[in-house]
Point group: D2
Chain length 396, copies 4
């Protein structure tokens, strides 16, 4: 039932599943998945199976497993979802199946395979869904140890420009509103970090009436923020002006002691970055004379003359205080995964980390447009000919 | 504790309470309140009491009473909050105190007072917080039966341009996101009704990346929507294009059978108007071959070839699916209430329904700006003199 | 030819002319016009004549007369357009025709009629297009000297919410760009005054990528600006931050010595208010060590350590540096004029200044929507009945 | 005087000139320029000369030469600006100087140098400012004929994300307003092509109140447009809805017969692409029963039952009807040029077309921020260390 509902929200993946069922591009291949075991992942599993794959699944994070989904899937495919204690065993069990293609969320499965070189024989490659996983894989590549091709799904333009910007942007604000019920209009929201996610947060906050300040360390991004109409200033100056602070840099200690002492009474602090190190909790605790939970997701640090309100303990606020990514976001991500797996099945990639091929980006975009009921033009033959004379390469 | 937290979120009312404590403008007056008994109302009660009033409180809606707040307040003022069965008694009990000023949310208390004419002797007047209450009071006025002045708080410009637009706009979308976790970017949102609340909903939806269509019956409002960049079309045409429909007209049957049959599979229907009559539930039920609850706040009507998803049973979605108005909104509303009570205490109004005096609007706005840390200019004496030569009356 | 082109740009007035030609609502009435003699006015003259009126026209500002238009019109109606020297005579000539309805742009014609009381006999009333004219007429009314009804066309909501906001907003920025060719994105634009025109300027500047600061003296307007996401601060603080300053207050000396000394080198100063007193020219001259024309519409004041660039000598920049209001704006204004004249012809108004009747606002809006190809809904009879139970009066 | 004024508008280039004067990075090098001879180019010439270069200049387009600027510069550097007849001689004259670095706007100078191989000896490389030039140079590279390194200045992110988006976006609308004086609010603007320039046009049109429709052939761009809130549809459908059409694709015949026959009476057609082939003039002429010039930049094609208004003969509207790029845009472009020349002077590039190095992008952005008075943060050493563990490569 949950998978069915998710299926209704994932039209792009559904149309891929239908094509896979006709074309069977993964016929006879074992595909190993190490992903969050959720209803959305269930839809991905079904698409791969429809394509002819023999699927083996384990959990990339045992705490996030939806056990009813795991149970339902175990009727259809091989599922290894131990608890936290036997998590490593479940990854090993999938690796032992010698999958020819892997789909990873943190590079755990592919790492496990590299520990047993004979399992790599005949591997066609893998996909990776996270920045963290790619850091590991690129380090392996730099050391000459990455033996198979890997497609960096989460660096696809469709992933960044759509999911990071709109999916995360919306859900971060959603999390802040649920935790605090503040009114954004009239507030000054300080967004620290102006990558794709930061852009999404800034746009959404502006769209709800906030006055937005952007802090950045990269001059090009800072300039873009400024040209797009936002105020840009150092965090130490923004600290005095902000009502709500949202970190989204991928770095650490972005808000720290020197900022806390300048903030206004009642300031709200939220983190939208992957790890809970962007707001310095040690500095907050060190500065506070008293700490108390004032609402379920709001911890108040009393600095004596002012109170700062930390949301969700500094953990990523859209997951901790809201429902994480909308299903429409996972639809695009998992569609990229499924098509990347299909591309790997052709055996045409060299070992190393690869970007998602343009054709896959375009196919996902085209399917998403179709799902939205949007039609677009095609070039006429004459236009194609003209373009070949003049066109620059794809603007990524 | 809850009242204390609310107090932290209501700086405008707090600064009025502090002035009232110094100036005691309500010294010796009995003030009767028939309002939702919530932590925010608790702050209003304390402001009135600080001003010297003897406060008697009953609930305008017994189902909405926060009983811990009622208990805490009963240590300070007279509180009558019976349950649904003895609600009328509680209103009568407050009326029996012969309050000289009333604060109403639906005109129940003032109506009760009019039923006992001697209780009206010496009354200075009342305030009214709702459109529904004003309809009743204006009907009484038209029949020559309204014996006292009433200030129409919810028609204040500060209330409409700020609370309706930003408070309701934000919370309506918040409610929809909580109920469905859809991604607004890329969706077509149809807003039916372009009063202040409709504007707020349209702006917020646009701010989150939706493509917005506005439906209106008033040509002037429709033209404004169009000049502001929205698509405007009849509901019957919009029905075919929308992914999410939000009614906010104050009317009835805004979405009905003729619209449902044109909608896309998966369309989401939400109501942001006060009453649950804007989406025709009888027509939905009549058209459906099956109805089921697919998520806690989502009822799905299967019309055979398409499924429509109704949120919160058609009740006002920001209350039913989110936390209603942000405290910052109630801060402005209750500040208007408190200052209106102070104005009534001067005895300078004639019987009838009156708009909130401009001076009160300006004072609330000035206090809110101060709370936001915003300073503004003042006219120089020369500019005042020049303006008196040329200026049009206040643009409402 | 010019009138024909203007006619193509004024579909609302054109459809009124066509109805007037069928219904002849002004049959037999002499209508006196004292307006700018332009191609757009030519279209208004033809609409009135089509309605059966005998039209007599003089220029409200002899310097603005388009003489080819005057010549073309003199074949059809009575035209008195002397030069600056015999301007008063031309107004007197129209007054001598004893018009029963007047259309004024500064109240000159109606004032002339009041100077000869017998000319007022049988007058049905007049319309007024300018704030300046209304100040004169309201002063007459306050002194008990206004003998006829006057409809305040330029206070119509259609005029303010559409023309002032969008027409003036766009053309003010257009004027600044033509004079300077600066890039607005990345600039800080300070808008002084947040009435309808100021809103339009702020929105348009924001829409072109500028970071916008609003300065206001009215706390309610200031709060609205803030809730709409703009920075709000005193002019003395904004002076240090702005790259472009635009005054639009209706007041005087809004930017003055104390502000000039704080501005950045290269700051641009433009006035969008009616009179050239909003930027203090005496203070600018007093502070400058050198003044020179650096571009045709740019006068540079060198204060020694910084240079300030004044556009168009402080005159209203959309007229002085661009083409003034788009024809679409005059279409709405003159449609209101034509329908106000029709309403006056019914003889149903009492002496005094009156707002434009709601019905006229709605008719103009409906015609404009039709011209834009936009259709809207109508209430069903059941909805009309329901609304009569609950509806507040028109929100102006 | 003109160069001085331009210098005031080009603070980034000015600060580079000041550093060049101190550091003399081009000491002793002959630098050949084949660019538009304008006041902005004059500033670039001075910056290069300040860096120690011996500069020789010819015109990339003899029709665009500002002769007063050429005369002023000829006092300082070698200038060859013949008229159209001896243009090739002027290019040859600069080539004959055997420049070690070239700055090109169409690849003419570098092509001339390749025709005389001995002139290439000792060449350090060139820069190219246009897409057209890069097409030529990449063709040479593919054929193995490109003997020197070339830096593709116009593909810099600073150039696209800032200049194309904001500079061209603003100036295209400026051109349309000057040509027509239409009111954009309430209009439907159809933007054909959603590259960086198309985005800029769409944003600016939306920012001025238009309802925007985007037409695209690339599904990823189309999806981005949709997620950003715009309507997306095929041109043949948009043709029926638009009031203003703006082509900005780089392709040909984007608007053609099949579209013209569906358009509304009075539709406005403008081209913002480089060449005048995006709107099919043959199809327009073929469909028209009459063609006439109704305003200086407006040619009206009467199709019998409707009239279409073509601006500027289909030539690029921001150049033909407005003043082209704001000086702030050229400031960034020429700053990239100057720094690219400095980078080439180090001799560290291999033959072939190269992107602008990230460091140059960042330096220009940092200087532009400084010119705007914007300060930003720097990473702490601990943050640098943390980032090296986790960071993805620069997001271009």
């Amino acid at each position: 039932m949950r998978i069915e509902w998710a299926d209704g929200q994932m039209p792009v993946l559904r149309s891929i599943r239908e094509r896979f069922a006709r074309e069977r591009p993964l016929e006879g291949l074992t595909v190993g998945l190490c992903l969050h075991v959720t209803s959305e992942t269930g839809c991905l599993v079904r698409a791969l199976a429809a394509g002819g794959a023999s699927v083996a699944l384990c959990a990339s994070n045992p705490y996030a497993t939806q056990h009813d989904v795991a149970a339902a899937l175990s009727d259809e495919v091989e599922v290894h979802t131990g608890g936290p204690d036997d998590w490593a065993d479940s990854v090993a069990a999938v690796a032992a199946r010698a999958p020819r293609i892997t789909l990873d969320d943190g590079a755990d499965l592919l790492s496990a395979l590299h520990a047993v070189p004979e399992l790599l024989d005949g591997m066609l490659g893998g996909t990776e869904e996270t920045t963290t996983g790619l850091v590991r894989l690129r380090a392996m590549e730099a050391e000459g140890r990455l033996a198979v091709p890997v497609i960096a799904v989460n660096e696809a333009r469709a992933e960044k420009a759509l999911n990071d910007r709109f999916g995360t942007g919306q859900s971060v604000l959603d999390g802040i509103l649920r935790a605090t019920n503040i009114l954004l209009a009239g507030q000054t929201v300080v967004v620290l970090g102006y990558g794709w996610t930061g852009r999404g947060v800034a746009l959404a906050a502006h769209g709800l009436g906030a006055s937005v300040i952007v802090c950045e360390v990269d001059p090009l991004r800072a300039l873009e923020a400024r040209m797009e109409g936002f105020s840009v200033m150092p965090a130490s100056v923004a600290a005095e002006r902000g009502d709500v602070f949202i970190t989204v840099t991928g770095g650490q200690d972005v808000l720290r002691g020197e900022h806390f002492v300048r903030m206004k009474d009642g300031a709200v602090l939220a983190n939208a970055g992957h790890f809970d190190v962007e707001i310095s909790l040690p500095d907050l605790r060190g500065a506070a004379v008293e700490v108390r939970e004032v609402l379920p997701l709001v911890r108040q640090y009393d600095l004596g003359d002012r109170r700062l309100n930390l949301l969700a303990g500094g953990r990523v606020v859209n997951l901790a205080a809201a429902d994480g990514h909308p299903a429409a976001v996972m639809d695009v991500s998992f569609a990229l995964q499924a098509l990347a797996a299909e591309a790997l099945a052709t055996g045409s990639f060299t070992p190393g980390v690869h970007p998602v091929p343009d054709g896959i980006e375009r196919e996902v975009a085209a399917l998403k447009l179709a799902a939205l009921g949007v039609e677009i033009d095609e070039l006429t033959p004459a236009q194609v000919a003209y373009r070949s004379l003049t066109s620059p390469p794809l603007d990524r």
